[in-house]
């Protein structure tokens, strides 16, 4: 599931409550435990269950949240922006068309430096309409200035929700965070996980004091002014700074969370990568499938490894390059297409990271799982077979390939 690099003593850890839940319910639970001041959200498959479950908490008085059942996703994010500028904790959830509809204001949220938390159950974008998983939605918002953290399973989706809040509100960061889980695969897959006690969550998230607030009528501030040639560039550079500093903050919070729960998180989770000659880089639920393929390859004496990516934004470039430094051939799996580009989103970042570090393994890109197409362990073993061939022959072949597509 996650790396174990325990620093804290085991006795400090909280006792989790084992339970079976799907990812959507688990994240709704996490939202209940975080008890945000305002939630504004709009239903869309496969995120709907998050909104519905949270609505029940509101209806039963289990949260103090002012729940705003808006008339669109654009309105959801707009209300979140107004609420967050008013100085409290704000969360929402969406996917696919909903996130695309928010696009304009995703930039406003990050540029106003509002630590809004958004749960995402990743889904394909239209047309044709498809409700199943891929990462096109979040990849479309790749440059919107939001942090993006991905889960492999239900436990991680749940755990990421709390860490997202702490990362977003960290004074060095002050940026919105989307924590993503694969639509249906995780959001509707019932798995065993451990819930934190409410008290432990309360303590972990602490309280939030905004730097500036609209409700501070004694100190009237102007939010979102017109910003022209003289200052706009400087404000963008500040956002870069927040992103860069988030690299350390993600690690710090992941460590703290690990000390609390025994489940440690960082940017990456390598699996049997130390001595690997060939490796796959993948993000989300397919990392689990890939582990099975790795084990199969290892049984056959092939030194295959996996690098699971948890943080896509900020991209942990140095850590990725370091993790892949000793590998001779790498396949990067992308669950989205960057149309017209030489390779797809994760691949591009991996290649840039490797190039800058001086490491020169052969790298190929596989597009997989679009529109919820099932990706099996045996398909992934074919990727390892391809890599083995590249490593042995030195012939890289096509840069971008399609896994599980009828040719």
């Amino acid at each position: 599931m996650t790396m174990t690099r325990s620093k804290g003593s085991v006795t400090d850890r909280v006792q989790g409550e084992p339970i079976a839940l799907d990812g959507a319910k688990a994240v709704a639970q996490a939202m209940r435990q975080m008890n945000p001041d305002v939630v504004a959200a709009y239903p869309i498959t496969p995120q709907t269950e998050i909104v519905q479950t949270f609505s029940e908490y509101v209806a039963n008085g289990e949260v103090d949240t002012e729940f705003v059942a808006v008339e669109s996703e654009h309105a959801a994010m707009s209300a979140c922006i107004g609420a967050a500028a008013a100085g409290g904790r704000v969360q929402t959830a969406t996917t696919s068309a909903g996130m695309a509809f928010m696009w304009e204001v995703l930039y406003v949220a990050s540029s106003l430096r509002l630590p809004i938390i958004m749960a995402v159950a990743n889904r394909a974008l239209s047309a044709p309409l498809n409700i199943h998983c891929d990462h096109s939605d979040a990849m479309g918002a790749r440059d919107a200035g939001w942090l993006q953290v991905y889960a492999e399973d239900v436990q991680e989706a749940y755990d990421n929700a709390f860490q997202a809040l702490r990362i977003a509100e960290h004074p060095d960061v002050m940026l919105p965070v989307m924590h993503c889980q694969d639509g249906f695969i995780i959001s509707h897959g019932v798995e065993r996980l451990e819930l934190l006690p409410d008290g432990a969550v309360k303590e972990f998230i602490g309280t939030y004091t905004p730097r500036y607030s609209l409700l501070d009528t004694e100190h009237p501030a102007t939010f979102g002014p017109v910003d022209l040639q003289d200052h706009y560039f400087e404000h963008k550079r500040q956002q870069v700074d927040g992103m860069e500093k988030a690299l350390a903050v993600v690690e710090e919070i992941g460590q703290e969370y690990g000390d609390l729960t025994g489940r440690y998180y960082g940017h990456l989770s390598p699996y049997r990568l130390e001595d690997a000659e060939i490796a796959i880089v993948v993000m989300g639920s397919t990392a689990g499938t890939t582990k099975i393929a790795v084990d199969k390859m290892r049984e056959r004496g092939i030194k295959a490894g996996l690098l699971k990516l948890r943080t896509f934004r900020p991209f942990p470039a140095d850590a990725v390059a370091e993790a892949l430094a000793g590998v001779s051939a790498v396949a990067v799996l992308d669950r989205a297409i960057a149309f017209g580009s030489q390779g797809n989103p994760i691949f591009l970042d991996v290649c840039t990271s490797l190039y800058a570090s001086g490491a020169r393994p052969d790298v190929v890109n596989y597009v997989y799982g679009l529109g919820g197409r099932d990706t099996t362990a045996s398909q992934i073993t074919t990727v390892y077979a391809d890599l083995l061939n590249i490593a042995e022959t030195g012939q890289r072949g096509p840069l971008v390939r399609y896994l599980g597509l009828r040719e």
Binding site: D37, V38, A40, D64, T65, E66, V68, A69, V70, E71, S72, H74, A75, S78, A79, C80, I81, G82, A83, A84, A85, A86, G87, G88, V90, E104, V105, V108, L112, S213, L214, L215, D216, T217, P220, A221, T222, F223, G224, P225, V226, D227, L228, D230, H231
Partner: protein, 309 residues
């Protein structure tokens, strides 16, 4: 609070000078009047448009109240988000109830067109936000394009007067009536020349237990091709020709606030603005008759509604 000019004038403007709205623009007049009418702490959300771009050019701001701009279409929802946070924090005891009021400003483009759905949502959900439409009857910030508030026959850059078309071919949308149809507690039409009426309306709107909407006519010398000094007199002409009737609807009860002693012909209104100059030519006589008939019909319907109470 009674509106007393001689008292009020000693209070500092909440909209500071040094804003860059055009000379004679009515928008800052309306905003000053509104902010002087409010005694409680107030938070303002502003849609993209002339007011927003001219009052917040970094590092300068004209605002002496907390103010936020997010986008063109979502000022209502941005204000509603802030209002939701306020209600949440007060209910949880995280902040004191200091009577903060929530105000949103949008142009007619922001209100009638791109922000229509947002505003409808805010009204349906009952957010305690006063939404003020600064209605200059076109998209002025981008250079005078038609909106659904632009009146029939008016010239704009996207409803130009050409060889075959005499300006805008469609009637304007009746946004105030649409607000009334949402059954929110307070809706009004106002104009800056009747400043006391406008300021009273603001106070009644904010006292209402729920959403409120005031549609304020805001003459634009640049877009209307009118004299900068005439912005107030032109707004009076709008009321006197019944092109812009002043009324309010409180909890569904219609009330007329101004009935001209002598209802003037629409041509008087048209003559004051270059955007209508083509209508005064003989070939457009029929269109003018049509416009007059429509104004008459709408006015009579309004009077009937108000007198029914």
């Amino acid at each position: 609070m009674a509106i007393n000019l001689r008292q009020m004038c000693n209070e500092r403007d909440q909209l500071a000078p040094g804003h860059r709205l055009c000379p004679g623009c009515a928008e800052p007049v309306v905003v000053r009047q509104i902010l002087h009418a409010i005694e409680d702490p107030v938070v303002v959300a502003n849609a993209t448009g002339c007011l927003e771009v001219s009052t917040s050019i970094f590092p300068y701001t004209s605002w002496r109240v907390p103010w936020i701009h997010s986008a063109f279409e979502n000022a209502s929802t941005t204000a509603a988000g802030a209002e939701s946070m306020y209600r949440s924090l007060v209910r949880q005891g995280k902040m004191a109830d200091n009577g903060t009021k929530f105000l949103a400003f949008g142009g007619d483009g922001a209100t009638y067109d791109i922000g229509f759905q947002f505003l409808s949502g805010v009204w349906e959900r009952g957010h305690k936000v006063l939404y003020v439409c600064l209605n200059n009857e076109a998209y002025m910030n981008t250079g005078i394009q038609r909106s659904s508030a632009t009146p029939l026959g008016a010239w704009t850059t996207t409803s130009p007067v050409g060889r075959v078309r005499p300006g805008k071919r469609e009637n304007r949308k009746n946004m105030t009536a649409i607000a009334v149809a949402h059954e929110i507690p307070y809706v009004a039409q106002a104009s800056p020349h009747l400043w006391r009426d406008l300021m009273n309306k603001v106070q009644r709107a904010l006292a209402a237990d729920g959403p409120s909407f005031i549609n304020v006519l805001a003459p634009c010398p640049r877009g209307w091709r009118s004299e900068p000094g005439e912005s107030i007199s032109i707004s009076k002409l709008a009321a006197d020709t019944c092109v812009w009737p002043l009324y309010e609807v409180i909890d569904g009860v219609w009330k007329l606030n101004y009935k001209p002693r002598n209802k003037r012909p629409v041509t008087d209104w048209m003559k004051s603005q270059g955007r209508f100059s083509h209508l005064l030519k003989p070939e457009n006589e029929e269109l003018v008759t049509q416009i007059q008939e429509r104004v008459d019909k709408e006015w009579e319907a309004l009077v009937t509604k108000c007198e029914a109470n």
